[in-house]
């Protein structure tokens, strides 16, 4: 478990799409005039026949994607998390999830990662929104390496998948040959006192908190719950059994995100001590990423403190 400087996960998306299209002429990108930002420009140049740009028209993009999917094509509708989870939301429910079409919603600018772009561009509700829609799968990769692999896993997976990427660089934790399975948490550290469960861009904070706690003699189990839905219940049940407490951490509203999903399992099984760390049901602002996270207690220190207080 070593943290290195990393890259934005939206770049992993752009790169993975090139590899996918090179091997499968059914892979499509549907852009919404932010291909430059979502890193699909090389795709549009190398695979012009597998690319469409609908302009600034997200609802239409989703419908076009759904239509493409009815003939067996695999469209990745590409936009930002706010627009992917809200502007085209009812279309996703009616035209993708309900008719069970194989459309991927690939979104950059997840959580606070758009930082100084401000609240209008920070997708902090997306996971919660998609959790409530039947047939939807939600994947939030933590770093460049896992994002690259999880995009490919999403392409193989038959059904709607929401993919959440970062605008800015996030530290790398994984190696390029690590393997990932949708719906299966990764155990990054084994432990017996407390479990930290993270999703998406803040995993590096979970890693640093784990290292800090272990230094202080506390044994930590660390899970990367890259798939928030379907949640890896087995992994949560195991954590309840093997450790005395669970802390969840996410760059998402505290309501209905990873913490809520884990809480449902904890509550229904009689569980263990439990705490959630996430955005305190408030909008962000135009400010640096770390500043926004700190304002909501999403810091290594707070993870460490929260774990200690429960033991």
């Amino acid at each position: 478990m070593q943290i290195r400087d990393g890259k934005p996960t939206r770049e992993a998306y752009g790169k993975a799409m090139l590899e996918l299209a090179a091997n499968d002429s059914n892979i499509y990108v549907v852009d919404c005039d932010i291909g430059k930002s979502c890193k699909t420009v090389p795709f549009s140049q190398q695979f012009p026949n597998q690319h469409v740009n609908v302009g600034i028209a997200e609802q239409n993009a989703l419908g076009v994607g759904a239509g493409l999917a009815t003939t067996g094509k695999i469209p990745f509708v590409t936009t930002y998390a706010v627009f992917g989870s809200m502007r085209m939301l009812e279309q996703i429910r009616q035209e993708v999830c309900y008719p069970q079409l194989n459309v991927k919603i690939a979104c950059s600018h997840g959580g606070f990662t758009p930082a100084n772009d401000g609240a209008s561009h920070q997708g902090i509700e997306d996971i919660g929104i998609f959790r409530t829609i039947p047939n939807m799968t939600i994947v939030a990769p933590a770093d460049y390496e896992s994002a690259f692999e999880l995009v490919k896993a999403a392409a193989k997976y038959d059904g709607p998948v929401y993919l959440r990427f970062t605008r800015d660089a996030v530290p790398s934790i994984y190696k390029s040959d690590d393997k990932f399975e949708i719906g299966k948490a990764v155990e990054l550290n084994k432990g017996s006192d407390v479990t930290i469960i993270c999703t998406g861009d803040i995993l590096s904070k979970g890693v640093l908190a784990t290292q800090q706690l272990e230094k202080e003699g506390i044994s930590v189990k660390l899970l990367d719950m890259h798939t928030v839905k379907p949640l890896d219940k087995e992994a949560v049940l195991k954590a309840i059994k093997e450790t005395k407490a669970i802390v969840t951490v996410e760059d998402h509203n505290i309501i209905n995100g990873l913490g809520s999903a884990v809480a449902e399992v904890v509550a229904e099984t009689g569980g263990c001590k439990f705490k959630r760390i996430g955005i305190q049901d408030q909008f962000g602002e135009s400010a640096p990423y770390e500043h926004l996270l700190a304002k909501n207690g999403i810091t290594v220190e707070n993870i460490v403190d929260t774990c200690k207080k429960m033991l």
Binding site: I56, F83, D117, G118, A119, S120, H121, S286, H291
Partner: protein, 276 residues
Amino acid sequence: MITKTELQKLNKEANDIRIKTLETIAHLGVGHVGGSLSVVEILTLLYFKEMNIDPKNPKMIGRDLLVLSKGHSGPALYSTLALRGFFPLDWLKTLNKGGTNLPSHCDRTKTPGIDMTTGSLGQGLSAACGMALACRIDNLDNYTFAIIGDGETDEGQNWEAAMFASQYKLNKLIAFTDYNKLQLDGTAESVMDLGDIEGKWRTFGWNVYRCDGHDIASIESKIELAKLSNNKPNMIILDTVKGKGAAFAENKLTNHNMVVSPETATEAIDELKKEL
């Protein structure tokens, strides 16, 4: 009609706004240069002549209203509002920084003089319709203005608003399209061609006018015509240049959101100062 001295004054004002906009973005180091610089003349005309507003009382009942639907052009509107006295000029240095009142995209809760929050494209014209309707219900004789982008025009919601404004005969709604022919991924023509943009608005039941969006006198003459409308909403298509007035940005495909170093900005600002 604008008098010659008035026009001179407004052109100078536009130049100042352009300089402040560049300084503001350069201070942060990156920003929406292109779409900010293309709306400078319309903002100058609105805030320094057309609109009935009071910088000391930004929420004055019965004032004229503006929705800058292309909310990413905030820096130009912030510079305009600061120069018009809505808030101190030093605020411009806080653009997009933690705790700022001038966020990346317009926010009615943070900035005096901003009438509507925007940033997610395609929604502002509907809000402007609601505002114009509310003013009519309240027997106010003010105007509601809206500025939308040409790329933004792709959003279907604009056309829902277009039908609504026509159905409800919102004659005191005056909208502008910042027709700078560029959006984010490329030219509007290559991404999503607007085709006969005038004809589109006309068939939706609007009065349509068109002029050079950097020629203040000619925009003013179109606004005067729009104000004669007694039963139709008004669309004024402004032919503009994205990045207007800054050589490093003007009409460049990369000018949507770009890094601006202090040197680049200074060079452009020096050029603009020569025009004063």
